[in-house]
């Protein structure tokens, strides 16, 4: 196991704790572009009024090891940082082809109409604002190993 493996932390979302206040989106938009514009948020919370079993869901970057967005990016603008483990989008290299938007199953990268490039979660360079401002503790930071276990428990236990 490499040192990045041990050092890297990940955001894990627990739908059971989420209240849908969307404060994470606000914090993210403000931190990244200085104003409250939900379209600019790199994290998104979905909620439904009908389905009580799955009331909330979050679209948040998993900073994958084998990142799909990284694999398809034609100019190699999206790359996993070797030191930190974050999957970062370099906006000066991005050509705006929206390949990453299409490829990522979660559609974490999105096309910013203003900047004409794709933008995505950059982990706030270490201290994610969404986690800092999460009112209910639904977004938490775990080490990579813990996050892997939790995600397995949450998403892989019952095979669909």
């Amino acid at each position: 196991m490499t040192s990045v493996e041990q050092r890297q932390t990940l955001i894990v979302y627990d739908a059971q704790l989420c209240t849908g206040c969307r404060y994470c989106e606000v914090a993210c938009a403000v931190w990244h572009c200085g104003r409250i514009d939900m379209r600019k948020a790199r994290i998104r919370i979905l909620f439904s009024e009908h389905d009580s079993a799955e009331r909330f869901a979050a679209v948040n970057c998993q900073h994958c090891d084998d990142a799909v967005c990284e694999a398809v990016c034609p100019p190699e603008a999206i790359q996993k940082d070797e030191k930190t483990g974050w999957v970062m989008a370099n906006s000066s290299k991005c050509i705006g082809c929206e390949m990453c938007v299409m490829a990522c199953p979660l559609t974490v990268p999105f096309f910013d109409e203003e900047l004409k490039v794709a933008v995505k979660c950059d982990f706030c360079f270490g201290e994610p604002e969404c986690v800092k401002h999460c009112s209910s503790g639904a977004l938490r930071i775990y080490t990579k190993d813990e996050a892997l276990r939790i995600n397995e428990r949450l998403y892989l236990r019952e095979k669909d």
Binding site: E54, P105, Y155
Partner: protein
């Protein structure tokens, strides 16, 4: 300026071209720049004064389409809105070599040495040559084109990528970004046209429909490109690959708004992470941590 430069390149008199001072002495009117409030009258007068046969040549993007002045408060339109135009010469500005060749071509002049002049010198940008069959319709060029020469038109089930050479300023931004190398800048075509429509070329691409909502979503070629790239680059077992391929077929609006789709996506990403982790553990010699949910080791790595 470009027109004057021509005389330094070739003996104009030998070709039968003479630059005169007054419109009344000329047959051909060469116009650079679009028509604005003030120049409109001059343009009309000049056209009235030149002798039969009256030939008007629009030189450069501004004359043909108003170029960067498009939308300016004083602009009256491209010059063909004011007077009839017989020949459009592309470029921003067109090279003198191109202008002289266009003239020679239009008037059937003796042009033995002229063709050589057209070749772009080594290390310089040439004229844009678009291979529409390579285009996958991603729209990257549309975002970077400063002259708005490329349009993306989504009709019912197809996307049209239309390139208007008249607007092109030869900046090569599209060639820089094109992920499928559909744009090349070199000398292959003659950058002049007798009709405005001739300067347009377009690629028509089929749009795939979303697997969930059925709305037209992304060009088939772009989707194929992405899937091929995923297959080439990423290792995963076939069950996950099938799920990932399916998710690419669902439109981004559905994927963004449906909780079920988000859950499916997270399952895909969690399986990818687990498999990558297992591979790394196997590679580093450590036994993969057995997970309670796995039914046998073959679920992790084939």
């Amino acid at each position: 300026m470009e027109v004057l430069e021509m005389s330094a390149l070739v003996p104009m008199a030998e070709l039968g071209i003479e630059i005169v001072d007054r419109p009344a002495e000329a047959n051909v009117l060469v116009v650079t720049g679009g028509a604005n409030l003030k120049s409109r009258l001059e343009l009309e007068n000049a056209y009235r004064e030149i002798r039969e046969p009256r030939v008007v040549i629009a030189v450069g993007s501004c004359a043909a389409t108003m170029g960067i002045f498009k939308g300016g408060y004083a602009m009256m339109g491209p010059i063909d809105a004011i007077i009839p135009v017989n020949l459009y010469i592309m470029g921003c500005p067109p090279r003198p070599q191109v202008i002289i060749n266009a003239l020679a071509d239009a008037f059937h002049l003796n042009s033995t040495d002229l063709d050589a002049l057209l070749q772009t010198p080594e290390g310089f940008r040439g004229d844009p040559h678009v291979d529409h069959s390579k285009c996958m319709g991603c729209g990257a060029c549309v975002h970077v084109c400063p002259a708005d020469a490329i349009d993306l038109l989504d009709r019912a089930s197809e996307r049209v990528v239309r390139f208007t050479r008249q607007d092109c300023i030869y900046c090569a931004s599209c060639a820089d970004v094109c992920p499928s190398q559909a744009v090349a800048l070199d000398y292959r075509e003659k950058p002049w046209f007798r009709h405005r429509e001739a300067s347009r070329s377009e690629a028509t691409l089929t749009l795939e429909t979303c697997l969930v909502c059925g709305a037209p979503y992304a060009p088939r070629d772009q989707m194929r490109w992405a899937l091929t790239k995923i297959d080439e680059t990423l290792r995963m077992d076939e069950a996950v690959r099938a799920k990932l391929r399916r998710s690419v077929g669902v439109c981004t609006t559905c994927r963004r708004t449906s909780i079920a789709e988000v859950r499916r996506a997270k399952i895909i990403l969690a399986s990818l992470a687990t498999q990558a982790h297992a591979r790394r553990s196997a590679a580093s010699g450590e036994p993969a941590t057995p997970r309670p949910h796995e039914k046998g080791a073959d679920a992790v790595e084939g």
